[in-house]
Symmetry: C2
Subunit: 425 residues, 2 copies
Amino acid sequence: MAKFTTIEGGVVAAKGFRCAGAHAGIKRKRNDVALIVSDVDAVAAGVFTQNVVRAHCVIANERRILGGVARAIVCNSGNANACNGEDGASDDARMASLVAERIGCNADHVLTASTGVIGVALPLDRIEKGIEATCASLQSANSDGAAEGIMTTDTYPKAFAVEVELSGGHTVRIGAIAKGSGMIAPNMATMLCFVTTDADIERDTLQAMLSRCSWYTFNSVSVDGDTSTNDSVLVLANGQAGNTKIASAASADGAAFETALYNVCLHLAKEIARDGEGATKLVEVVVRGVAPPGNLVRTWEANDKTLSPEQRASFARSVAKTVANSNLVKTALFGNDPNWGRILAAVGRSGVKFEPSAVEITLAGHKVYASGQPTKFNGYVVSEALKAKEVTIEIDLHQDGGEQATVWTCDFSYDYVKINAEYHT
Amino acid sequence: MAKFTTIEGGVVAAKGFRCAGAHAGIKRKRNDVALIVSDVDAVAAGVFTQNVVRAHCVIANERRILGGVARAIVCNSGNANACNGEDGASDDARMASLVAERIGCNADHVLTASTGVIGVALPLDRIEKGIEATCASLQSANSDGAAEGIMTTDTYPKAFAVEVELSGGHTVRIGAIAKGSGMIAPNMATMLCFVTTDADIERDTLQAMLSRCSWYTFNSVSVDGDTSTNDSVLVLANGQAGNTKIASAASADGAAFETALYNVCLHLAKEIARDGEGATKLVEVVVRGVAPPGNLVRTWEANDKTLSPEQRASFARSVAKTVANSNLVKTALFGNDPNWGRILAAVGRSGVKFEPSAVEITLAGHKVYASGQPTKFNGYVVSEALKAKEVTIEIDLHQDGGEQATVWTCDFSYDYVKINAEYHT
C-alpha cells in the first residue's frame, strides 16, 4: 500500500491550480459561484449521474470531456439548470464561454456544474457577475470560498488533500472539494466533487482510476436513495509535479496514485454521508460472506447466467444498499434502537437468496443476531453504543465465496422531513 | 363488468362464518387475538411475503394451504413469531392445535398469522387464554372485534364486504378484514388480509384469482418500501351460498366473482395506504404510456429478451413504485409542495429508458411539466389542491404500447419518524 500524507489546501493543494468563490445572489447569502482554474491545460476525466433525466451541465460535460483536456471548472449553486427547456443548454454554454473569455481558453475546455432548484431558468446576469468576481479573486491558498460556493443544504464545506511520493523522488498532490447532501433536496442538492492534481498522467488511465474509485466511494454512499439529475465528479490533472508520466494503473506509480485518489474520494464520500440531510451520525454498513452467483441469484436475474464481475460484486452491494436505504433501519438508528429485526427484514427483501439462520448481525461491535435468533445482548448497552457519531452495522451471510461490500449512509431524523417538507418550490 | 353491492358484516358477511376478537394482554389494551371460523370445511388459498426471511406462520401456512382445505384462521398481534429460533415453529403449531381442539377439526385446517415484534418468544399462555375467549364469543354479526385483534399501528380497523349475483339467481358474498401499516414498524406491523366467501368455487381457480387480485391491489401498495416477514392474504370459501360451483375464471360467474374479489382487495389495499404510518393523505400514482420491452429495457435486464407478460407489466410498475417510494416525493406531498422535479428525477432513476422531453406530469389534476419544462402553472393553486385527503400523481411517458400501472402510497410526515424512532425494542 502506497504511503500518502494528508495536507492542507483542498482543491488548490496541487501545483498550478487557483480557485475562488463568490456571492452572486442566486438564492441566498452564502457563496453560490465557485471557479477552479489550472494555470495550464490539464487532462480531464469525469463520471456522471446515471439518471435518465440529466441536467444541461451533465450533457455538455460528457461531450467536453471526450476531448480529454480542460482548464477550468465553474459551478453555481441555487439552480440546477435542469428540465428547464432548450434555453438551459445555451445558458450552460454561456457560463463556460464567460469563463473562457476571462481566463483565455477554448470554451470547450471549461467544465460546468450546477446544483439547486430544477426547472427554473438560470439567472445569467447574476452568474456573470459571480464569474467576474471569482476571476478577480483567484488564489492558491485555500479552498474555503470555492467549497462554500458549491454547497446547498450541506452544513459545512468539504475539502481534502493528500500528497504521495512517486518514483524518482517526485511528490504529487491530489486535492478536492465536494458537496452532498440529498437528491435535489430541498429541491436543491446533488453530489458534486471536483478533484485537482498536479500529477502527469495519461488521460484514459485517469478516467479508469476515477471510475473505479467513484464506484467504491461516491457510488457507495446513499443519503436517501434518490439519484440527482446533476451528480458529477470531475478531475483535472495538470502535470505540474514533474513526475514521470503515469500511463498505467498497474505500474508502481499508478498504484500509488490510485490509492491516494481513492482515499481522497473515500474521505469526501464519507463526509457527504455524515452531513446527509438531517443526519446525526455516519453509518457504515459492511456485508460479508456473500457467495458469487451460481450458488446465489438475484430473484429477477434468475435466468441470467452471464453476469459480469461488476454484476457479481453487486450481490453483496445489493444487500448493503437495501439496508442503507431502509427508512425503518435509519429511523431506528436515529432512535438508538438496536432493532436487528428491521435489518434482517431488509436483507431478506434485497433480492439475494440466503439461509436466514446462517446470518450474523453485529451492531456497533455487539453481536445481536446469530443461529436464527437474537443473542442474549444487553439492549441498554447496545443502545448506548449506537449513540456514537460513527456506527457500523456488520452483516455476515456466511456463504461460500465470501464476497463483501461496504456502503455509507446516515440516520433518518425529523430534520430530514423538515428540510424536505417545509421548503416550498 | 359484473354488478356488486357493498354490504355490512365485514369478514362474517358471507353465510356460515363466525368471528371474534379478544384481549390476551400480549402487548397492550386493545384486542390482540382474532379468530375466524367457517361452519364447514372451506377451500383455502393464500399469498405470502416474498421476503427470504419468513415468519413461522408463513412457513407453516404454505404447507397447510397445499391441502386446499381450512376451517379457521387464528391471528395474534403484538408478536410476529419470527426469527426467534425453532421454538417459534412449535409455538405456531400449538396455536393451530389449540383452535382445532376447541372447534373440532384437523390442526392442519387451522391457518395462523402473527404480527408484531420480531425475535421474541410467543407468550403461549396468554394466547391460549385469548383463543379460549374468542372461541367462547364467536358470532356472525360483525367484524369489529376481530378487525381490532389484528391491528398494530393501524389507527382504525379495516373491514369490507360485497354481494354479487351469479347465474341461477344465486347471491354470493365476499367479506374481509385487513391491517397495515408499515413493515415491522414500530417493530410491529405487517400487511394481513383475511377474506371469507360463501361461494362454491374450485380451489385452484380461487388461488389463481387471489394471486391476480393481490398483484394489482395489495402488491401495488407501498407505505415505506419495506417488506414484512409476515405478510399474508388468506381466503376461505365455504360454498354455503349454494351457487353452481365456479370452476374457471373465464366463465361468467367466475368473472363476476373475480371482479367482486378484486374490489374487496382494492378497497382494503387503499385503506392500508391511507392509514400508513404517519400518513396524512392517500396518494395514487398512475403511470401511462410505457412501451413494452424491445423498445424499452430495464438497464439491468438489457440482455434479457425473454420477458414474461408479468415482467413486461412491471416496466410501468417500476416507474410507479419508484415514485411511490421516493422519500423526497413523499415529504414534498406532506408539505403540499408541487415539486414535480423530484417526481421526474425519481422516474429517471427507475431503470426505465425514456425521452425526458416527452414526459407529462399532472399533479392533483393540474399539468405541471410538459415539453421538457414546467408549464405555467399557479403554484399556490396546485399546493391548495395537494391539501386534499386523496391526491393523484399522473405520469405519461408517451411511448408506443401505452402500458400503464397504478400504485397507492401515502405521504411522509414527522409522525413516521416519530413512530419508528421513538419506539424502543
